[in-house]
Symmetry: C2
Subunit: 187 residues, 2 copies
Amino acid sequence: MRDKGHASRGRIVEAATDLFYRRGYHTTSFADVAQASGIPKGNFYYYFKSKDDLLVAVIAERLEQIAGDLGRWNAEIPEPRARLVQFAETLQRNAEAISHWGCPAGSLNGELSKTQPDHRLRARRMLDVYREWSEGQIRALGRDDAHELAVHLLCMLQGASLLGGIYGDFTLITAETRQIRAWIDRL
Amino acid sequence: MRDKGHASRGRIVEAATDLFYRRGYHTTSFADVAQASGIPKGNFYYYFKSKDDLLVAVIAERLEQIAGDLGRWNAEIPEPRARLVQFAETLQRNAEAISHWGCPAGSLNGELSKTQPDHRLRARRMLDVYREWSEGQIRALGRDDAHELAVHLLCMLQGASLLGGIYGDFTLITAETRQIRAWIDRL
DNA sequence: GTCTATATGTAGATAGAC
DNA sequence: GTCTATCTACATATAGAC
């Protein structure tokens, strides 16, 4: 049923995903999304009953992308430690974007947690998925404090993404990736 | 000259500082600040020529508070490592607020970096001050990679504050404080 | 399904009485 | 210095032609 027709809907979600990331949710207007997608804003309400509803679609799209990444890593990387390294190096692989706009999941959560309590749980799911997966890998290394360590890993990655975006600093991302990699090696 | 008269100005800045922290800059309106401070919004333009101008005053107030903290720690704590612990435990001391709204400096920077390029430098100063001070303490411990380590410390603290706020989780703050304290002990 | 025109609310900002 | 009334712009959202 999904992806049946509705090409316009897909283009709206794609443009909104990009703009909510680069400019933030509150500061992105339907007019902005309309211009970026080439679809008049009046049309939006045929696909989404509100801006909140568009946000739900954007988060759903991000969640699918995250699940796809994790599934691929599970399939292609046998060792738990190597999987964690792959996760941590997402920072380096996406350094260009992160050094401009931070982490898509982290920055959106930060924004929504202050103002959209009704979306907190939904947005948080993006971080939960990463945390649960990391916790599984760390537990496979024989650590019984896997939960606390997984949270710490996520904190380090989110902190690096936040400061990388704030400072617009590529080298900060590289240095942090090294620090976090060393932490994983010590696990 | 400062604090001469202008009691209203001080109340506006105080209310705005609080609201920009708890609700964010963009989602706080002058009407909100007016209600919180008890001063009609029309009056705001006698003291501030724009909302941006009010933001400048809020950041200046926060900077003074940060400088005051660091000065007090310098005066009261002789050992560099103990100073760093004092800094890290700010997380725990402010856990109640942080578990609701994150770090005042970090969340404001995260918000402004996406949308207010003209304020990036000014807001960043709050983080720079912490980083420079940390770097000095770490260098005093004999580490010549003090810059990179200070940035890493800031990343961990910011990541913990961000996730603490997102999850509204007091125990996360406590666990992260422990992790970061252990990191300082290993320096 | 797609688009234009428009309604409605609220934001930041101003004018001017007191 | 303080406050009320108001302007203007733009946000989300709707109505309805095609």
